[in-house]
């Protein structure tokens, strides 16, 4: 009924039924405008001013903040840390999830227990995970160094060695969030028609052959989606770093989100911090567009 009505109706005219459609959409639209569009525009405006948290200097200063940011070694370093984390966390977060899902998919007994134990850490708050790992990483009293010393490996200053700290955070993040990717992979694997495997085994394909020739290709759309979601999630890294190392040692783990927070809220320079966040925003948009382009080419 609605399609024939819509064909006769002029587009855009306010009828009773699309009025109530707007009515239903209104709560979302209001939130969208108030909490997304307005802050986005206001932030852009703010990045062009010298605004401080104390309210001093609201005047427009053009692109001075952007110019300062592009010459700011602190911003580049934190941006570099963010990208480094994204690269070294995305690979294990995707691969480990895939391996975990594949292991489970071969039909281990007590499936619910595996699914629960793989996914349960994801439900914890970042504060809990950070506290938990901070203790485990403690150089003197920590569980990990204690275990290492028992097998004769010298103590590692997990969160205090600039060369190790980022990896320590990746390990904590992996344990904490890999369950989400695992669940996506598992769902996708269980959707692959069983006939494919039957046919393959009749043709004499072994387990590895089946995995590489059926499972992996069938999972491609899921992999693309997981990689995209993971890159975006990793780029936004903040909580666990802030709580475990506060950006240290020597600024080696400070992500750009923390740098934005520090310049804006503890350094009071809201305008400057807004400029850095727009530079970061540009980077995220760029990554998303690239990813989107790749996905479209593949699916076309």
């Amino acid at each position: 009924m609605s399609s024939s009505l819509a064909a006769r109706r002029k587009p855009g005219s306010l009828t009773r039924s699309n009025l109530s459609g707007w009515g239903f959409a209104a709560p979302f639209l209001v939130f969208f405008l108030v909490f997304l569009v307005w802050p986005l525009l206001y932030g852009l405006y703010m990045s062009l001013t010298g605004k401080s948290l104390t309210g001093a200097n609201d005047s427009l200063i053009g692109f001075a903040n952007y110019a300062e940011a592009l010459a700011d070694a602190g911003m580049w370093r934190s941006l570099g840390n963010t990208l480094y984390f994204t690269v070294i966390s995305t690979v294990p977060l995707v691969l480990v999830a895939l391996v975990m899902a594949a292991l489970l998919n071969v039909g281990l007994p007590a499936q619910w227990l595996w699914r629960l134990s793989y996914f349960a850490p994801y439900l914890l708050a970042s504060t809990v995970v950070s506290l938990f790992f901070t203790w485990m990483y403690n150089p003197q009293l920590g569980l990990i160094n204690d275990a290492l010393s028992k097998i004769g490996i010298p103590k590692v200053a997990w969160l205090n060695d600039p060369n190790v700290a980022m990896w320590a955070i990746v390990i904590a993040t992996l344990w904490w969030t890999v369950g989400f990717n695992f669940l996506l992979y598992l769902a996708a694997m269980q959707n692959i028609p069983h006939q494919h495997y039957e046919a393959a085994s009749l043709d004499g394909a072994g387990a590895w052959r089946q995995f590489f020739s059926i499972t992996l290709p069938q999972l491609t759309p899921t992999t693309v989606m997981i990689v995209l979601l993971q890159i975006l999630a990793s780029l936004k890294i903040f909580d666990q770093v802030y709580q475990m190392t506060a950006g240290g040692p020597g600024g080696s783990t400070r992500p750009v989100v923390q740098y934005i927070f520090e310049t804006g809220f503890t350094g009071y320079r809201l305008g400057y911090s807004a400029a850095i966040s727009y530079i970061f925003f540009g980077l995220i948009v760029l990554v998303s567009v690239m990813q989107f382009a790749v996905t479209r080419r593949r699916s076309a």
Binding site: S20, G23, G50, S52, L53, T54, G55, A56, N57, N138, P139, Q140, L141, A157, L159, N160, P162, T245, A246, G247, G248, P249, G250, G251, E262, F265, T266, G267, Y268, R269
Partner: protein, 444 residues
């Protein structure tokens, strides 16, 4: 048209649902409106908002002081909100004040006031109103009173000063033969003498002579560094638009001395605050460098503990310190009656600060410090002289307790203390970072 089937047997049309939602919404709104005000208002008792950053033992003491002030003053009721120390506290306080709806009174570290007062985030105190409750400038030690002021106005009222001191285990010290005739630790006057003293204690504990946890904590590194630096009789001056004025040799000498302590005999090569305290509490070291606020924890551990100011190793007695101070965050509309209540509340707390002293802090209010009851408190009385030699952070909008500046210090100096970097290089990088901050537009 498809109907919504919310209840079996009863169908609800879309129109009914929308009307119902609207009615429910207005009900909620009405509820929210009547929810304002609160019961206390109705009874004529004014609610005073009070933010502070005191947790653990400090928090319990503060709550007891608030309770007794509330009991003594039926006209108002102080409602504390406790926030986490450091950036979480200071950013929230700054934002609430910038928005004009902060609490009526708040605690701030005196060293953070220079970042708040010039920007108008806090109001000056009216000394005549304070005097009505019997509190005047003469009731505070000169250094502390001087620190309360910015441009000739009093912006903070110090509840205490809490210096960085040295705790020591009297059992270990006695076995090591380093106690003087009065039962207190014998005096040392040079870096070498201090290291010898620590080594003597190590022989008794078999672990370490000194505990000092610093890893990952800019505040800890800064507290000891600044104590040693100020003992050189040197100053640091931070003027926006100009490079930092500092005695570089004194800074480097202090850093090198600190690094030389972490040799796994005198002190553990790597330890954070909690491991440092735990080590001392276990009796695995003879001395602990820490803030006075650690006293309740150490007493609870049942240690034979005494305390003193950190020995003067470079000629000039000095101790890093800060003060928990009362400030008046700027209100959009000041409620005069409530502000008067705040003056009464603050003066009551100051006068009752003997219980605050039990938590280790040196009260700011001198009549308490001079009372016999305070003199009977040990080991508090043994470091009360610190109030005369305390050194607050150099003033600027970015310095002070829990500030990013202390974090930057850690970023550049931790590797020096770990023996991976030269003191000259670490200090140089910190100075460069500070100069960058000084060259930026001043946001307050």
């Amino acid at each position: 048209m498809k109907q919504f089937e919310l209840f079996p047997g009863k169908q609800l049309s879309r129109r009914q649902l929308l009307t119902g939602t609207a009615a429910f919404g207005s009900l909620l709104a009405a509820g929210a409106l009547t929810g304002c005000g609160g019961n206390a208002q109705a009874a004529g008792v004014r609610d005073i908002g009070f933010w502070h950053l005191l947790s653990g033992g400090d928090g319990i003491k503060m709550q007891a002081m608030i309770n007794s002030a509330n009991q003594a003053n039926p006209g108002f009721k102080v409602h504390p909100t406790v926030l986490a120390w450091g950036p979480p506290y200071y950013t929230k306080l700054a934002m609430a004040s910038a928005g004009g709806r902060p609490p009526e009174v708040a605690i701030m570290h005196a060293s953070r006031v220079p970042g708040y007062a010039p920007g108008g985030l806090i109001d000056p105190w009216d000394l005549s109103l304070l005097a009505e409750h019997g509190v005047t400038g003469a009731d505070f030690a000169p250094r502390i009173w001087e620190k309360s002021q910015q441009d000739g106005k009093v912006f903070s009222i110090a509840l205490d000063s809490h210096p960085f001191v040295m705790f020591y285990n009297t059992d270990v010290a006695s076995k090591a033969g380093v106690l003087a005739g009065n039962g207190q630790l014998e005096e040392v006057a040079s870096p070498q003498e201090f290291m010898d003293l620590a080594r003597e204690m190590q022989k008794v504990t078999k672990a370490h002579g000194l505990s000092f946890g610093y890893l990952g904590s800019g505040s800890q590194m800064w507290r000891l560094f600044y104590t040693l630096y100020k003992q050189h009789g040197a100053d640091i001056t931070l003027t926006p638009g100009q490079p930092m004025k500092v005695d570089r040799d004194a800074a480097i000498e202090s850093l090198e001395f600190m690094a030389s302590l972490f040799d796994d005999t005198i002190a553990a090569k790597s330890g954070d605050i909690s491991t440092g305290i735990a080590e001392f509490a276990r009796g695995d070291s003879g001395m602990l460098f820490s803030g006075v606020w650690e006293l309740p924890t150490l007493k609870k551990a049942g240690l034979p503990v005494d305390a003193a100011t950190i020995p003067t190793l470079y000629g000039t007695p000095a101790a890093y310190a800060d003060s928990h101070s009362f400030v008046l965050p700027r209100q959009l509309n000041v409620d005069e009656a409530k502000r008067r209540d705040v003056y009464k509340f603050v003066s009551d707390v100051l006068k009752g600060s003997l219980s605050w002293a039990e938590a280790g802090h040196i009260p700011g209010y001198q009549p308490v410090v001079q009372s016999q009851a305070y003199k009977d408190l040990t080991p508090q009385a043994h470091y009360a002289n610190a109030a005369d030699v305390i050194a607050y952070d150099p003033e600027s909008w970015f310095s002070g307790s829990g500030s990013d500046w202390q974090t930057y210090f850690a970023e550049n100096v931790q590797n020096v203390l770990l023996g991976r970097d030269k003191a000259v290089a670490g200090w140089g990088a910190f100075e460069e970072r500070t100069n960058h901050l000084l060259s930026m537009p001043n946001p307050v």
